[in-house]
Amino acid sequence: MTAKNKKRAMRIATILGLAYLLPNLLGFLVFTAGPVIFSFGASLTNWNIMNSPPLEFVGFRNYQQVGQSSQFWTFFINTVYFMAFSPVGIVGSLVVALLLDSRLRGMTLFRTLLYLPSFTAGVAIMIMWKGLYNPDHGLINACLRGVFDLFSLPFQGPGWLQSTQNLMGLHPEKIAFAVKDIGLGAREALVFMGFWAGLGGGNMLLYLAALTNMPDELIEAASLDGAGPWAVFRHVKWPQLAPTTFFIVIMSVIGGFQGGVDSAQVMTGGGPAGTTTTLAYHIFRKSFVEYQFGYASAVAWVLFAIVFAFSGLLWKFGNKETNY
């Protein structure tokens, strides 16, 4: 092939490559990049659909209001509260993946069963949990009542979705703690449901894939050197899983900050007393219930900054420890 022909072939290959990328690129520009830039512009205006007051440029006033809003900080705490439990979910996924990595008969069935919630409609799962959490007639309190009855103990079941109580004793109205606010309430109800739904979900699959791809020689060598199951896990598997764990943590942080809309919409309406309203649900309500698109855009950009900062910190301090 002459140099000229080579050049021509290269050009055709480039054009073809770009043609293949074009649909996706166009979609990205129109449906992702465009709205992102537009939302930043909107965040600098007082835009609401009702044109009252008339549309005007307000600079960073919306951002100032976000910072001064006690509501924003309450919902930020709610969001962080939900995220605080994500390590438990990650550990749970790891344990399940380790169990499913063993070569027992019927393992395919177990894997399928554990993955079942992931391909069940989220709303259906939420409605089911709503019934389970009923304080008086729900299965969860009925089981707890049975256990208490067994030991002849008086039973006052958690209020679950109806209750503002929480494990940290956060007061629903102000940023304060109180012993009387400690208990199991709506926040925990959503956390437990999320834990259940996530146990056999994407994180478990990632861990399972990482375990499956782990070289057998490493484990065999450790075993020959007398390492027990715990030592094999601690010194061979866990370090090998570090990049996967790092990825899962990053994704959990990003997903955690953006989450809470579905469950709030279906199960709690963000209540009781705003205890299950996350920042993402706050943005949804400000835009599509109160039509304050300017302010909602500002909250979205503040949320982006928070996610970016957290992810950056994790990347800076976590990446070099986990990638070899």
């Binding site: 659909i49 009702m50 019934g131 959490y133 009923n134 008086d136 007393a273 039509y291």
Partner: protein, 443 residues
Amino acid sequence: MRALFSAILVVLVGWTLFMLPTSRDPVPAGKTIVTWATDDTPIRREQIALFNKLNPDLDLRIDPTNNDPNKVVVQSIGGVGPDVFDMPGTTLKVFVDSGIALDLTEELPKLGYDPLAEIWPAAKPLFAIEDRTYGVPANLDTLAIYYNREVFGEMKLPYPSANPTWDEIIAIGKKLTVKDASGRTTRYGLLFWWDWRDFFAMCGARLFTDDGRKLTIDTPEALEAVNLMSSPIYVHKLAPTASESNSMASVGGWGSGNESRFVGRRAAMVVGPRYFTGNFRRAPDLKVGVVKLPLSATGSTRLKGRTIAVNSRSPRRAAALRFIKFVTDGGYNRLNNDLADGVGPSLKYTEEPKFQFNPDFPEEKYNPIWRQSMLAAQPDESSPYISNGQVDEAVGFQLDLVNQGIKDSKAALAAAQAAGEKLLQENLAANAALAKRYAEGSK
């Protein structure tokens, strides 16, 4: 490999182009499709059938998946909204301020309709702002108490009196509440919606001063309303909590929520609107009676309803206006009254003998009660200085704390008042024109 991917690309593009014309609903020859964003109910289908029969050149279709006001607003601004749409409750201002609801002030007289003379007088805030008319109510409704006559018979209890008091309803409700051996309630005495605005209206509690400049949600009447709403649940235990209601199985086929539970004999009485009657008709064994809702001296029933408006950006405005005309006519009003979808928009059709007593439904001897209740009904109050959503947020948050036992009703209402006033002041600070209007004291 390159050839394979290229071939796949060509096939996909070709297939898309080939299928594109088939992806749209076919338009019947010689017909114009008119889209109405509303809910899909058997009643709605009968109304549509009548319209399409009377207007053979039009094909009215509903879009129930985009019925939500938020979707209507966003889609209409984007230029893909419905031709006509429902505005529930007092959402009129949102649609007017956003320029979506067409001003019909000049159009309605051309259709031979005087809305102020024809429509139930209390409904004016649902369709007009400052003497400009933006729609016609699709239907209107209010609340009364339904009771299951058979359950009363089995318990050998007399029916509630024609004008009961709350004390009477609560006393009867207690007797009708049944628990099983484990203490679980198998039948509640009374069901009602946990909606503080219903009880504010009953107790005559105002939300705002007359000029709308100040909230008044911490008055003795408001306190009475909150106590009245919570006492059947938490004090007398004759009504379910919200979560108990959610977990009570619906008994299929008769609407959803409270009317379904009432049909399933999970409650002996239910506070509900007239449209429940339409659902109860599908339970032929159910024997129902209706009595008026107890009201305080200054109280009223709450007027509910939805108004049909024309999308100002609709390219089929003429067809949409024909639908509005249809809603104002006797055919639609009588059909609506017969189907018990609340009452039709025009008051005069409820004066007709067939509304007073419909021989097709001889058991329903209570239509005069609905008419009287409708005449006593009042719409939700509103203020230009604070949205209903903001008031709901302030009051709803505090009522959650009352439910938790964290606050008593009085403290909660005082806090809701303070939170509402703060929101109102924030609205004024963000809107110079509104602040000027507020300073001038005009509503």
